[in-house]
Symmetry: C2
Subunit: 101 residues, 2 copies
């Protein structure tokens, strides 16, 4: 698993559609995104979203994983910025700037 998978999954969950997430949020092709999400589900070993005729819907597992993914991504960003600027993590605000830890 790579951060790319988390970024892709969050975008899909927020857009509610593979097509919309690919074109408007990730600026990649929809088939490529479909493959990455499939790979993520295979690695986790659980179905994260149900494919419907009009977009997708999150499974319970998908909703749980979405929370995890958001936290991880925000913390990665906070780690990079905090390390770069020398600001200790405990001084950073929660979410959008990462959690304090």
């Amino acid at each position: 698993m790579e951060l790319r998978h988390l970024r892709y999954f969050v975008a899909v969950a927020e857009a509610g559609s593979l097509t919309v997430a690919a074109e408007q949020k990730l600026h990649t092709s929809q088939p490529s995104l479909s493959r990455q999400i499939r790979d993520l589900e295979d690695e986790i070993g659980a179905r994260l979203l149900t494919r419907r005729a009009r977009g997708i819907e999150l499974t319970p597992a998908g909703r749980a994983f979405l929370d995890h993914a958001r936290v991880v991504l925000s913390q990665v960003e906070a780690a990079a910025r905090g390390t770069r600027t020398g600001v200790p993590c405990s001084r950073q605000g929660a979410f959008g700037g990462g959690l304090a830890w």
Copy 2:
């Protein structure tokens, strides 16, 4: 940045050497590892370790980032396992099993 960079950096920090980390922990080539660490430093915008004649040493920024990286990696693992098994994150032990969040 990808999780690969975090995994590589943690291995190097724990081994205290690019060579040892590459051969014994990551089972990859040392030059490839060297490049990935360099890329990570470039993206963060800070030197994470000082190259010495006998292995490496962490900079203050490196020590800070190491803490971040460990937390992120453990949370990613916890997210995957928690989602797979259906166990809510709050029921998982801290470290080695990820933090509760």
